[in-house]
Symmetry: C2
Subunit: 209 residues, 2 copies
């Protein structure tokens, strides 16, 4: 899926019986929407006299959120590629000799590792968006604070979604040190971002009155 595909067509593909795009693509889009909404809050704050004291900080946030938006948009295609590689490896001839069987297994395992790291990268990017949403909610233009609240919800949904794809692939990896290390990183991201999302959402609700 490319960023120039119409949204309605992407949703048609998502709903179809094809395996990709699937949850991994939806996770990346949720994260990208979160990043875009952080950028919107920054763009509607920077240049306003009332917010001159936070302008420099929000310019930095904007630069980061725009980078993250680009990375998360690119992650939609990465997810399809990683999934297709796993399916391709499982689809290889099973082989007659032990050597051929071992070669197929090694290819499957390598593809599963990549298909664990791709959603983990997406999860990390979403966790970064959660942090930026926090600054946007605390310091951005209060007239668009609800958009900062939507940003944090979208980014957190992206993280929770990507987490499922990390888990599903990590479960089939034989190298348990690799898998357990990735799962530990994931748990740490989820724990920190979960607490921050709750805090930001409450801040936004309080500012809405």
């Amino acid at each position: 899926m490319a960023a120039n595909q119409p949204l309605g067509e992407f949703l048609d593909d998502l709903a179809s019986e094809r395996s990709t795009p699937g949850g991994g693509g939806a996770a990346a889009i949720s994260g990208a929407m979160g990043a875009a909404l952080v950028s919107m809050v920054c763009n509607l704050t920077i240049g306003k006299p009332k917010y001159v004291e936070v302008e420099a900080e929000l310019k930095e946030v904007l630069a980061k959120s725009e980078t993250l938006r680009g990375e998360l948009t690119a992650a939609i295609a990465d997810d399809v590629k990683a999934f297709d590689a796993v399916m391709g490896a499982y689809g290889l001839p099973k082989g007659e000799t032990d050597e051929a069987k071992a070669a197929r297994t090694a290819k499957i395992q390598a593809a599963l590792k990549e298909a664990t790291d791709v959603p983990l990268d997406c999860a990390k990017l979403c966790a970064e968006v959660v942090k930026l949403s926090s600054v946007a909610a605390d310091k951005g233009n209060v007239n668009v604070v609800s958009d900062a609240g939507v940003a944090v919800q979208s980014a957190y949904a992206g993280l929770m979604s990507a987490a499922l794809n990390v888990r599903v692939n990590a479960a089939s990896i034989k190298d348990r040190d690799f898998a357990d290390g990735r799962l530990a990183t994931l748990e740490s991201l989820l724990s920190e971002a979960g607490a921050e999302t709750t805090r930001v959402y409450d801040v936004v609700k309080a500012k809405l009155g």
Copy 2:
């Protein structure tokens, strides 16, 4: 925003300093992605011999999820329209006479009521998607159970996001019976869907092993 706009262009618009599209559009897209993923799980379950016992039920779920997907896709444009109507009403000349002032106030209040009901409708649709995700996670093809988990996360993020737009507009409505009624409906949706989302996500995690 129409469904035929490229996704990347929509994200550009979301990030821009224009007020629409904003969080309301992102909420509707989250809900639509959730509905699409429910449909995907149904499409990958229906027709499989192993799932013949749940086939009739999942066909009903699929019909509902596809209807909801259409409604949520349409809700993206409804949000822009409702927001523009509020801005248009606030932008009317303030008027010299009491009568002219009262007429402007009435138009603002009517637009705010509409701008409360539009995201409340989106919230209701997202809550329906949460319920369908629940069936998809419990009874759908276990090979795509992670997609049911992403569906519930996306739909719940859509609901939590739409909720902020209900609150921001309800806060400015003078007819407190109207506003309080809408807020009570919203709280009920949030409470039920919040509990269900947690349950579904845990079911999915358990099935992933």
